[in-house]
């Protein structure tokens, strides 16, 4: 058996450093103490320092200690420690750029470790596109504080006042004579800063130093290549899935064949012929096999005979009846409508009213690599190796689930398949922990494809009713939005009573989460407005594959499809060009927080300009003759402070209903761009992920189980669906010369949000057919084309 522990080099180094028996001798440059009022120390430098030896226990790190965030090494390099993860959007590179600028070190002099609970401060992991917008700030401030301390130390060393020194590339220099300098390593290399920080919470963490003004940032704004990419293309990166521990076992789960079924009995003799079977574990309705080898576990999980009793009531309607169910059922809760003006009176006085229903099915994460975790119970501790984007709550949740002290549990974050929200990486982390804890050996669990596609968390299905009123001049006077979301019992991150294994074991919260029905991001100036939302439940609330959890911009694509699709319908009814119609609505907005109105107008104009051949028209281009119909559609939205406008050009094959989005244009403003190429790629892939949801993605089920379980039954976008051109314009700011420099906002989700709407609007322009039910697979498009022609 292989017994190699192959951790990525950076992490391995860090772990070695954290183990005093291995590290103290060669890590400490000397026993010399820091001068300066902050005091002296002979402790080894490193996260958590001596207290976080690799074999535990693992106390929480103190984010109010500068040493928790930054270490200067004797070779005049630095390591940054941040409590975030990087799902492939390049935030690890961006964070380094931000911290290098504040610390005055060159990018190549630094490295950055992320998201491992005993090495990096708890910044909550990733989510909400907040990496750059929110979590980057404490990183900048602590780096600025480290620079301030180093300038003081350097000034003393150079026998100059602090006002007469500066810093560059890891050295403190005399302003008057840059040849007089001292390196950061000479000042603190291998030793602690021992500087306390302040702040009520991790995001408020700060020292005494101010961050630099935008004009002085030099590393920020450069398109530095991501350093995780070379090892991802040459095969040298060790992923979480690659770890092999001594004595490690392989487990696979067996899920209920019918949602809500009760496990009656298990026939272990059915797998007795398979070599390497170590244990069949059952607790409640959770069932797993654990084997010596991976292929044995896969075979045993397929072959294991178990008797299940189906639930008395069907767990859910079939997917083709979902929207009838959604519109006919009583809500579990309704939000107080957001009301402005007098919509009823405005509708009564309207020259023209419109009404339309929009529908979006459940859509899943369906990660390319099924959910994975490895748990190691050695030394009476529990280490979980995971790519979960919420490693800190995984640690806390597992400790609660297994009734272990938190300090005996840690999560080591490593690269893995994409995580755009609350994925099954949460669920599998608990499963691996449970199995390893129970068996007393390291256990590696990976879900199978059918499990990932059927049982991962889903973005909620939505049904919308939209109503709008136009006056005689074609002005939108009133809008009524009513959303019905299947989101009851929405699961959060790493909750020890809602992860799948807990549900199957019968451990549940007394009351399911209420869930939510989201409202649109409306910047438009609409005088009379009513926004309402209702949450609904399926008959089966627990132990169901149709459980909702956050999926990239959790409700945004659904809500924006209905809202921006309907705005397009109103533009047509008003006989207005859809871009112009939106422009006037934005210009009429009374809001301009964070210059969002001006920036929205700027992205709308930039998208039209970048498109280059936008023909204003007040009616769809269709009907046209010929086998291929073409058209373009626009959608606009914002997410927090990031604004975006997208134009899709489509070709629709009349005979088949096939839709190809030939070109995408995006104008995007997220304020200060840290790494423009990294940002462009994030924007691009976010758009295409949205395009996949617009064209293909739909969870399908009968009245017992999910039937879309692999890449044949659950298609996703492919190479042939890819646009031949994608034009992205980064619009930083607006034409207003009075506007101060914008801070850095988030970009992980905004471009994803308007895609279903933009594609639907383009299909309408091409064909005259308004598609109000996503996704736009060819059979649905063809049926709609045939309906209009007959």
């Amino acid at each position: 058996m292989k017994t190699s522990l192959e951790l990525p080099h950076a992490l391995e180094d860090a772990l070695r450093r954290l183990n005093p028996t291995l590290s103290r001798r060669h890590f400490l440059a000397s026993s010399g103490a820091l001068v300066l009022s902050v005091g002296a120390s002979t402790l080894p430098v490193g996260r958590a320092l001596a207290q976080a030896a690799a074999d535990g226990p693992y106390p929480d790190l103190d984010f109010l200690q500068l040493d928790t965030w930054i270490v200067i090494h004797p070779d005049n390099t630095a390591t940054f420690y941040v409590g975030k993860t990087d799902g492939g959007q390049g935030t690890s590179t961006a964070f380094r750029q931000m911290m290098c600028d504040e610390l005055d070190m060159a990018f190549a002099q630094t490295r950055l470790l992320m998201g491992s609970t005993d090495i990096t401060p708890d910044q909550g992991g990733s989510g909400g596109s907040d990496a750059i917008e929110t979590d980057g700030w404490p990183m900048r401030r602590v780096a600025a504080e480290a620079r301030r301390v180093l300038l003081e130390l350097g000034a003393a060393q150079l026998q100059l006042p602090v006002s007469e020194v500066t810093a560059a590339e890891g050295r403190v220099l005399a302003v008057a004579d840059p040849s007089r300098s001292v390196s950061y390593a000479e000042l603190v290399g291998g030793r602690r800063f021992n500087v306390s920080l302040t702040g009520a919470n991790v995001n408020a963490t700060t020292g005494a130093a101010a961050v630099k003004p935008v004009q002085q940032l030099q590393v920020v704004g450069q398109s530095l290549p991501r350093d995780d990419i070379p090892p991802k293309v040459d095969g040298s990166l060790t992923w979480a899935v690659d770890l092999r521990l001594p004595g490690m076992l392989h487990a696979r789960n067996i899920r209920p064949p019918v949602a809500g079924a009760t496990l009656r009995s298990v026939d272990e003799t059915s797998v007795s012929g398979i070599p390497g079977v170590v244990r069949v574990l059952q607790e409640g309705n959770y069932l797993a096999v654990v084997c010596e080898r991976e292929e044995q576990a896969i075979q045993a999980a397929q072959q294991l005979r178990a008797e299940w009793t189906p639930p008395a009531q069907a767990p859910f309607p079939a997917s083709e009846d979902l929207f009838d169910y959604l519109r006919a059922s009583a809500p579990t809760s309704s939000r107080e409508p957001r009301l402005s003006g007098d919509p009823a009176a405005a509708f009564a006085a309207a020259a023209q009213t419109l009404e339309a229903d929009y529908e979006v099915p459940f859509q899943g994460h369906t990660a390319i690599g099924p959910a994975f975790a490895l748990a190691d119970p050695s030394d009476n501790q529990l280490t979980i190796y995971s790519n979960d984007m919420k490693t800190y709550s995984l640690r806390t949740g597992v400790a609660q689930f297994l009734n272990l002290p938190r300090e005996r549990v840690r999560v080591v974050y490593m690269d893995g398949p994409q995580v755009y929200g609350r994925t099954a990486a949460d669920d599998v982390g608990f499963e691996a922990a449970y199995l390893a804890h129970t068996l007393g050996r390291p256990v590696r669990v990976q879900w199978m494809r059918h499990e990932e596609t059927a049982w991962d968390t889903k973005g909620p299905a939505y049904a919308f009713r939209m109503r709008g009123a136009l006056d005689a001049g074609g002005r939108l006077t009133a809008l009524d939005y009513e959303a019905r979301a299947l989101d009851y019992a929405h699961v959060g991150y790493n909750e020890p009573d809602t992860v799948l294994i807990a549900q199957l074991m019968g451990r549940r919260p007394a009351r399911p989460a209420a869930g939510g029905a989201a409202l649109p991001s409306v910047l438009y100036g609409i005088e009379h407005l009513r926004l309402a939302g209702h949450v609904l439940a399926l008959p089966l609330v627990w132990e169901t594959p149709l459980r909702t959890g956050n999926l990239r911009d959790p409700d945004g694509p659904q809500v924006t499809y209905a809202f921006e699709g309907f705005i397009d319908e109103l533009a047509v009814a008003a006989r207005r060009d859809p871009a112009q119609f939106r422009r006037e609505l934005i210009a009429a907005s009374p809001e301009d927080d964070s210059f969002r109105r001006a920036r929205s107008l700027a992205v709308l104009d930039a998208a039209v300009a970048a498109h280059g051949r936008w023909e204003e028209r007040s009616a769809p281009r269709a009907p046209a003759s010929g086998p291929v119909l073409s058209g373009r559609g626009i959608a606009y939205t914002y997410r927090n402070n990031t604004v975006v406008a997208v134009i899709a050009e489509v070709e629709v094959t009349r005979e088949t209903g096939h839709v190809w989005v030939r070109r995408l244009v995006c104008a995007h403003d997220c304020g200060l761009a840290i790494n423009p190429v990294g940002l462009r790629n994030t924007v691009e892939c976010g758009m295409l992920h949205g395009l996949s949801r617009a064209l293909w993605e739909e969870v399908q089920f009968d009245t017992e189980k999910v039937t879309s379980v692999d890449w044949a039954s659950h298609p996703s976008m492919r190479h042939s669906d890819t646009p031949e051109a994608i034009d992205i314009v980064l619009v930083n700011g607006d034409p207003n010369p009075e506007r101060p420099d914008l801070p850095h906002y988030g970009a992980g989700e905004t471009s994803h949000k308007p895609m279903i709407a933009a594609v639907a609007n383009a299909i309408f322009d091409a064909t005259g057919v308004r598609l109000r039910r996503a996704p736009f697979r060819r059979e649905r498009v063809l049926a709609a084309l045939n309906a209009i022609q007959s």
Partner: protein
């Protein structure tokens, strides 16, 4: 269990496994290779792709006993320490997001260009069609392939 000899990245390796074991698990768990990855176990997504005698093959559905040719994995793509032009193009175009599928994308592109050094855009799409990416790096992948194709000198007219 039985001894199976495999030619992997230029070296002959012997493993003691059930002959029916899919090649993927042997490469990963017995030979400690990291390029081929489990994505579906059904031959649908391409994450497990390896080259066998130059052809892109799904190792998750191929019994190890059925392998007869020389296997090249992602780790074997670079020669004498120099990245394959496709790998360099992947870096130049900053292709990966999470990167989990890129093993299959790279090796399938390699097989495509070995067979057809100057594919049209349509041939690139068709040749890559069976390899899925859920971060949606398709546009970047196609740009990287075109970068390599563009750098290839057209063959002299005969």
């Amino acid at each position: 269990m039985s001894i199976v000899a495999l030619n992997v990245n230029g070296a002959v390796r012997e493993v003691d496994v059930e002959p029916s074991t899919p090649l993927l698990y042997v490469l990963r768990n017995d030979l400690a290779l990291r390029g081929p990855r489990f994505g579906c176990g059904l031959g649908q997504c391409g994450a497990c792709t390896v080259l066998i005698d130059g052809a892109a093959v799904r190792s998750c559905v191929l019994p190890v006993s059925a392998v007869s040719g020389a296997i090249t994995t992602l780790e074997g793509l670079a020669q004498n320490g120099a990245l394959h032009p496709l790998q360099q193009a992947w870096i130049d175009e900053q292709v990966p997001q999470c990167g989990y599928c890129q093993n299959g994308q790279l090796l399938t592109a390699k097989a495509l260009l070995d067979h057809n050094p100057r594919p049209t855009d349509a041939e690139i799409r068709a040749g890559m069609e069976g390899v899925l990416c859920r971060c949606m790096t398709y546009y970047r992948i196609q740009a990287a392939i075109k970068r390599v194709v563009g750098a290839t000198e057209p063959e002299a007219a005969v």
